[in-house]
């Protein structure tokens, strides 16, 4: 099925919106009425047709607009792409993994022809067609990770596996929830996660690391993470905090349902074959409170989750200023009905 790519923006006039189909497939992250930080990692197996987990890398109606937004961010700040010199094998591994997956899962949009090491890649939605030699960086205009990273929705970090830990030694990061690739590049797992409150105390990060060090080739895993963002802005980076930070002051009781968005990250991790590195893919989905309320079950659930949120997490996720407004708006959908466990919409 060919996708209908929307023309929309994630900055300035913010014309981003979700179609009915897109709302329906939104990866709602709260199976229970209370939220607590947890590892919640599961195998990244094939999901139901149409779901965000149907394929290894999800491409949706926002694909073209997101790739354009990524290009703008990278032009303004080339430091959003980083790759330490020893990561070149991992770069090619990444290119192979993503090109093969896209060509197989979305044949109407992408194709990959191989004649030995001479590969021809075609990306129809973005109007790209290039022939290059796999493994020979001089045959591409940019480094391989940069080349294909720009043609995918979401952020990617390549983790090098050594000294019984994972180092964030390469990344292309333009839609992050407040962390800086330029600052974090080269950090070990534990340093990188230093700012996550409560998680370290709970031992969550150590358990997750142990799990990931055993990640096997061909058996990727996934988890969901979430935050709330004012405006459908992909680039909520610390780098550009001076530009978006004050948006939090603009939320009031009248506009809260339009301005405040649930931002869900579908995080997937894949072991790479030659480099033994791990791809950490962070695919961001945005939905306004108003669109969440399309499904009363989601509105009730989100109300309960937010109402009982730990104050440290409200602070950490930058929600302090608009949190009460959000809870008040959601309250009117919540009749107190008991909800069964699960993230389904209906």
């Amino acid at each position: 099925m060919a996708l209908n790519f929307k023309k929309e923006t994630f900055r300035e006039d913010y014309t981003y919106s979700n179609s009915g189909e897109s709302i329906k497939r939104f990866p709602f992250p709260f199976p229970e009425d209370q939220y607590m930080y947890s590892v919640n990692i599961e195998p990244h197996t094939k999901g139901k047709p149409g779901s965000v987990c149907e394929f290894a890398f999800d491409i949706d109606e926002h694909y073209v607009a997101e790739c354009l937004d990524k290009r703008i961010t990278l032009e303004q700040d080339p430091g959003r792409y980083q790759a330490l010199p020893h990561m070149m094998d991992a770069q090619w591994d990444f290119l192979e993994l993503t090109m093969e997956a896209l060509a197989q899962d979305y044949p109407e949009h992408f194709s990959l022809q191989k004649q030995g090491l001479i590969w021809t890649w075609e990306n129809k939605p973005l109007g790209i067609k290039d022939t290059f030699t796999f493994g020979d960086t001089s045959t591409l205009a940019t480094e391989p990770f940069d080349y294909i990273g720009r043609q995918l929705q979401g952020d990617f970090v390549l983790l090098d596996h050594r000294d019984e830990t994972l180092y964030a030694d390469a990344g292309i990061v333009t839609s992050q929830a407040d962390w800086s690739l330029a600052f974090n590049v080269g950090m070990s797992w534990r340093e990188w996660h230093g700012p996550v409150p409560r998680a370290t105390e709970l031992g969550v990060m150590d358990r997750a690391l142990k799990y990931l060090l055993n990640l096997q080739l061909g058996s990727p895993v996934r988890r969901l993470n979430w935050t709330m963002t004012v405006n459908p802005r992909l680039d909520t980076s610390p780098e550009n905090y001076p530009h978006w930070g004050s948006d939090r002051n603009t939320v009031n009781a009248d506009n809260v349902a339009d301005l405040v968005h649930l931002r869900v990250e579908l995080q997937t991790l894949f072991r790479l074959p030659r480099s033994n590195a791990i791809v950490f893919s962070i695919r961001c989905y945005l939905i306004s409170l108003k669109d969440i309320a399309t499904y009363p079950r989601w509105a009730k659930r989100l109300h309960r989750v937010q109402k009982t949120m730990h104050p440290d997490l409200i602070e950490y996720k930058g929600m302090t200023k608009f949190h009460p407004l959000m809870v008040d708006w959601l309250a009117k959908f919540d009749d107190g009905e008991a909800l069964t466990v699960g993230t389904h919409a209906e």
Binding site: D163, A182, T200, E239, N240, S246
Partner: protein, 197 residues
């Protein structure tokens, strides 16, 4: 963004102690770090060969060090001079080397960066912080580095923004993250206080 939560990537420095499995010791200190070196030699005069590089500044432990350290002591006049000597002797060092560093945090991470080029990993360095708690700050907005910040909020040497000093530390940069403090309410600054004297 808002402060009020703890961050765990800040390095914790201990006190220097000899590593008995070493085949050679390299002790590198600055200013009041000389006292840490003297304490180290009070613990023991090690059997293995020792090199000591000491950059003297306002506090001068050079005289005492000369008495206590039997051989292999170099007294230098600046951090830069010390780093140059360090880089010149590193290629002669062999397996089993242990490195001990005592000085300000800025000094510690300058040394760490210098020896990294010779394949010495961070985990193999023993560090003791002396002299000052002053911080080196990386401005996440304009990417400039500002040294010797002693207050909770410091002015960026690059873009001039007032930066909140987060407890988030990058060993690669040897710096803490600095984040614009008044982005959400321009001009509203909390009281600026010395907290890293």
């Amino acid at each position: 963004m808002e402060h009020g939560y703890t961050i765990k990537s800040k390095p914790i420095y201990g006190a220097l102690a000899w590593h008995d499995k070493a085949t050679v010791h390299l002790v590198i200190a600055q200013s009041q770090g000389g006292l840490a070196v003297l304490k180290l030699f009070e613990q023991m005069q090690p059997k293995q060969p020792v090199r000591v590089l000491y950059a003297q500044q306002d506090t001068d432990y050079a005289k005492t060090l000369k008495k206590v350290v039997p051989e292999g002591l170099d007294v230098l006049n600046s951090e830069q001079e010390l780093l140059d000597v360090l880089k010149s002797i590193m290629p002669t060092m062999r397996m089993g080397l242990r490195i001990y560093i005592a000085g300000s945090e800025g000094f510690i991470w300058s040394v760490a960066e210098a020896v990294k080029a010779f394949g010495v990993e961070n985990a193999d360095l023993m560090k003791e912080q002396t002299d000052t708690l002053a911080r080196t700050i990386y401005c996440v907005h304009c990417k400039a580095i500002t040294h010797n910040i002693t207050t909770n909020i410091g002015k960026c040497s690059g873009c001039g923004r007032m930066l909140f000093v987060r407890d988030h530390f990058s060993r690669q940069m040897g710096a803490y993250m600095g984040l614009m403090i008044d982005a959400e309410s321009p001009g509203e600054l909390p009281a600026i206080e010395e907290i890293y004297p």
